[in-house]
């Protein structure tokens, strides 16, 4: 999916290689969500989704990077984040998006929960090729 980055906006990149980077990614996304003037609930939802995906990138993807920034489509403004890793990929997307299923030691709600927290959710993955997850939340 091509993220419709707002004109004149260069998405900011944050590497995700250790635990502290998840916090940094979250702070960066918080900045963008505030800039976009999302409501407090939507801000919290988007930040939480980003937090889940950043941690997935770190724990399951073996690290990667996040790009985030403002987006614009048909006059609507929103905020987007793209998480990219070159880890093992997800062999069974259906299974991975099932509530409660985890290949690690988590609650199994990160990926499926993140999908429910945002307006648009795109998962591009292939076993052995890595994973890219893009999320968008539109301002109301």
């Amino acid at each position: 999916m091509n993220v419709p980055w707002a004109a004149g906006q260069v998405p900011r990149t944050q590497g995700i290689a250790q635990n502290d980077d998840v916090v940094r990614a979250r702070q960066q996304v918080r900045g963008h969500a505030q800039q976009c003037k999302l409501s407090l609930v939507d801000q919290t939802k988007f930040i939480t989704a980003a937090s889940e995906l950043a941690r997935n990138t770190l724990v399951y993807g073996g690290g990667g990077e996040m790009r985030s920034g403002l987006v614009e489509r048909d006059g609507r403004r929103g905020v987007a984040a793209v998480f990219e890793d070159s880890g093992p990929g997800i062999p069974d997307i259906e299974l991975a998006l099932t509530d409660g299923w985890t290949s690690g030691g988590g609650l199994g709600l990160g990926l499926s929960g993140a999908r429910r927290l945002v307006d648009e959710f795109f998962l591009d993955t292939e076993a052995g090729r890595g994973t890219t997850v893009s999320i968008v939340k539109w301002s109301r």
């Binding site: 635990n19 916090v23 979250r26 918080r30 407090l40 609930v41 801000q43 919290t44 939802k45 930040i47 939480t48 937090s51 889940e52 941690r55 509530d99 988590g106 609650l107 709600l109 990160g110 499926s112 929960g113 993140a114 429910r116 927290l117």
Partner: protein, 283 residues
Amino acid sequence: MAKQDSKSDLAGLLSADRERVVDQWIDSVVGSLKGRISKAEVDRELRELYAALVEALVAGGEDARGDHLSETRALLTELSRNRARQGFTPSETAISVLALKRAFEPALRDGSAEDTDRYLRLSRILDDLALFTIETYTRTREEIISSQATQLMELSTPVVKLWDGVIAVPLVGTLDSARTQVVMEKLLQALVDTGSEQAIIDITGVPAVDTQVAQHLLKTIVAARLMGAECTVSGIRPQIAQTIVALGIEFGDIVTKATLADALQLALKKSGIDLVAHQGGGR
């Protein structure tokens, strides 16, 4: 090392036009620091450094990591530490050494081949010393960061006693595995120490509750239960509540409250304490 003849002697190069070189050096360093350190202080620092450097070179030391330059390194260590603590950038710190090279350039223009050779040798020493400065600077910064992290870890996890038999942990900031471990240990220890049966975990100060935070919370609560205490989670703000629902996290039979006051009231009730409002209250 044997004393060399004056032409190839580095100490000679430094002593030849000493006042002009040192003045120019001090001026360019003061300029680069943009007045954030007084000229008098820079003056003192750099003159001391220069003297130590000359002394080391007279003694024949040309290895930046060698014994002869240990005095110089000690002064540089102090300088870099101070700069790091005062919030200067690595460049602003290293320039204190590197600017000295620039001070020699005028002399080089109409100098002989020997002068150039001496300049290059001095330049190599100064480069090494500049690298040393940056290393020290970075080390100091890392020390500061790690001590702050430790302080923060302890600061942000107090266990407070609200009533006889009721303790509370107000959580502030990000909950990662390391911090949860500290919180859990402190909470469980406080349960034993105070003989409390009610524990309140207040998450008003936690900016976002994701699945990892929830999982850490659940583990802490289960551990407290195993010790016979009842746990209430308070401080669930509207946006957090909606996020938790969307994420699909189940808190099961764990009691949650919107505010710490509600949680305290519930804990008191469970401990068999009734709060009675007196008539004509407000005194």
